[in-house]
Amino acid sequence: MDAFHVLMLKLFVHPRAYFVLISCRWAYLEAGVEKIMTDLRGGMDMKTYMGLYTAIHNFCTAQKAVAGTNFSNHNNRGGAHLLGEDLYQHLIEYLKNHLAGVQTRSKEHVDEALLTFYIKEWNRYTTAGQYNNHLFRYLNRHWVKREMDEGKKNIYDIYTLHLVRWKEDMFIGTQESVMRSVLKLVEKQRNGETIEQSHIKSVVDSFVSLGLDESDSSKSTLDVYKEYFERPFLKATSEYYDNESKQFLAENSVVEYMKKAEARLDEEKERVPLYLLSEIMSPLMRTCEESLITKHSSALREEFQVLLDHDKQEDLGRMYKLLARIPEGLDPLRNRFETHVRKAGLAAVEKVAQEGDNLEPKVYVEALLGVHTQYQDLVNRAFNGESEFVRSLDNACREFVNRNKICKSGSNKSPELLAKYTDQLLKKSSSKMTEEDDMEKLLTQIMTVFKYIEDKDVFQKFYSRMLAKRLVQTTSASDDAETSMISKLKEACGFEYTNKLQRMFQDMQISKDLNTAYRDWLSTTYDEKEIKNNVDATYHILGTGFWPLNPPTTPFTPPQLIVKTYERFATFYNAKHQGRKLTWLWQLCKGEMKANYLKVLNSKVAPTFQVSTYQMAILLLFNDNDTVTYDEMVEGTKLGKETLDPSISVFIKAKVLTAQPENAKPESGVSYKLNHGFKTKKIKTNLNIGIKSEQKQEVEDTHKTIEEDRKLLVQSAIVRIMKSRKKMRHQQLVSETIQQIKNRFMPRVGDIKKCIDILLEKEYLERLEGDELGYLA
């Protein structure tokens, strides 16, 4: 059609035509239009085309000749108006007649044949329309434009006029049967047959072309397409999948159905770019989801528990993806998932709880971790790591970590066991088994459980006590691991939480330097001989405020030898730090003694005993006499019975001492004799053995201090809040206190109220009208 453009340039200048063709009639034009309509392929020579074009031009400009005569009562453009309209109306009449014929012929076809016919006719008609549009260009430019500028309705450029006529005189009467054929074809394809997709695409395009904006013919809308194509298409889709899914589910398992539904959804999605308009994607998907998922969502959810029980990750993943597509599809799953995980956690704890009091902290923590790991994995793989499922997992874990069979005796059993497990890991004994990165991994796992612990203060308490022990007894496996753990805790709970732990670490370092300085000081103060006779001692200086250590509970008179030793150190220390008070923690001190009266078996070396300071004091009494009575021991050491008796028992058990009478309980009247027949193969014998009941007592003490600390924590939180608010309603104060405290532990309302009682009594607070409390400065 490029030829058009060239032609039109020439056609413009042809002054003689005014007169030649002024009498031209519609009949002449109609013949030309008919030729374009029905036999464009037959070709039209340039001369004929020029003739037609000129005829139209003259038709429109003929007004110059007739102006002022026939139509003088009209305005000055009246002639052109009438003449243009005449031509326009003639064309409409022609198109109507032509299309009536086409429609009649369409009745002879059905199904694919109808589509073929419709598309062929459409293509022919629209091509002709474009041709005519150029032919009638003069009319378009002048009369049509003017009419439209004046806001006349139902006046279109010539091509659009073709479309309007098609819509009225062809489309309205045939669209229903056309769509029926289209939908039959689509159904065939859904059933697996191969179809001529281009037919449908052409129909879609034709429907879209008919979407004319009534108010502005230069624009197009999708109204016609939506009404006559999309709507029936979606309806048919919905019916098709309603039926199919119902039938499929009746004959197959839910798992199979999910695969089917997934495949169908993919199929429909792929269908869109093949022959549909991209605009249909979202409504089509919504329709499919409604039929394939929403209508069967309860059946799917029923299966969820079964899949969880059998850990079917792949199917769970499929279910997640399906239900994630519909609104609120996943909410019920999250609830069930949470319940399931919690039950799994409780069951795992129940299983290990059968070991009773002998439950190893490691076993317990691993049971908790096992459940968490399994379901975290599931969330990541099957549920796409979605944050809502992560939250459900967290809720479930928090629940079973803090409230389970082991915790029945007290909610702080979990943090206690976790702290103990951490202690075991960080102690020397286990270090051989764990490589460096393994240790890091294990500590990370501990933090996973720690995150769920509600009573973080309990963990802190136990942890700091055990850290203190590791440091004092130098049983810590590695400084790096210790530091790493502390920094992890700091990251989780903040500086305040780990402040004391860090200070304990620092004290150890400072003590190291202090001991070096002390040695230097000794060598300058005493001569070599004196130093050689002195007891070789190391000192740890631990800040009272940072270490969870208490002064000894028993009175004690250290032996003269030790008194001299520590007095030397005290002189040095006081010179360095004036005004500091040193309190000796005898219960933590230990030493080594050489038993000169003995020989290690098969050697000439005297064995060494590792003992506590208390035991040292007892044994030193035997330097003066081979037999020492119980009363003399009491007198010499001043130790309380609860410390003295177990210390003696260790010696009896190890056969270092013998009791007289034999097997007598330690009490007044019994005497003890040094056993010269003591036999050992070891150069060092450890007699500094902790006592079980002491450990139990320690746990109880720890819990007790936790209670005390909590009361203070709650009270100070209340005072802090009231100090800034001055006045506050009771309930609000309680809930804000919980907010402030809960990252340390979950306070009970009753406990908070007791603290309020105390503060009322201490007159920090007063009761005001209407449930309000006031702050008294």
């Binding site: 009771h730 309302v749 009753g750 009682d757 009594e761 449930d771 409390l773």
Partner: protein
Amino acid sequence: NWNQEVAVNGYFSGGSGPAVSSGTKANLNKIFDKYRDDPGAPDTVGVTGSMSYLKDINVDIEDIGALAVFEIVQAPAMGEMTREGFVDGWSALNCDSLDKQKAHMRNLVKTLPSSKDNFSKVYKHTFQIAKTGNQKAVPLETATAYWELLFTSPTSAVKWSSSSTPWAQWWVEFLTSSWKKSVNKDMWVQTLKFAQMSLDDEALSFWNEESSWPSVIDEFVEWVKNKRGDGAVEAMEE
């Protein structure tokens, strides 16, 4: 001028009688002097003096009336009156003779059972009387003795018991069997509030764990509910 001012004060403090005159004060000082028993403490009347004073104005020393008198004179302790409290208290009521005081008390004791405001004033001051010296709390034994008087006397405006629940009795039983601590001012004041509310609503629906009651009240509610629950079971078994 001076009289006018006092008259105005008297008016605003609710007194409808004539203004307090210097004569009134003189009279009251004279009465006070009559009962002084310790020459070393010229502005104090001790226990012996107070007892005979109560007797003279016809007030039963073992009933709420006596507590009411101590409230009027703002006694700092049981059986102890100060000159200032005595003079100020009675002159505000315009009772400057024993006869007037006797009449006032007769009337007060008669109306006390129906006057919650007056009763509440007496109740609150009783805490001051019950505690010894500068202590902030009253020993439980003392407190329960006063509660028994205040909640069961015929003169009480809050007789804390009902056909279904012997509240005051249970309260004392609960305190002595499981609370076992001394009673602070807040607990004292809140107990009256709780007593009044529990009489209005014996199901205790006004109570919940979140509300601002001191924890002793919370524990008592728990205790009562248990006790009632037991009672119900027994009733069913019978």
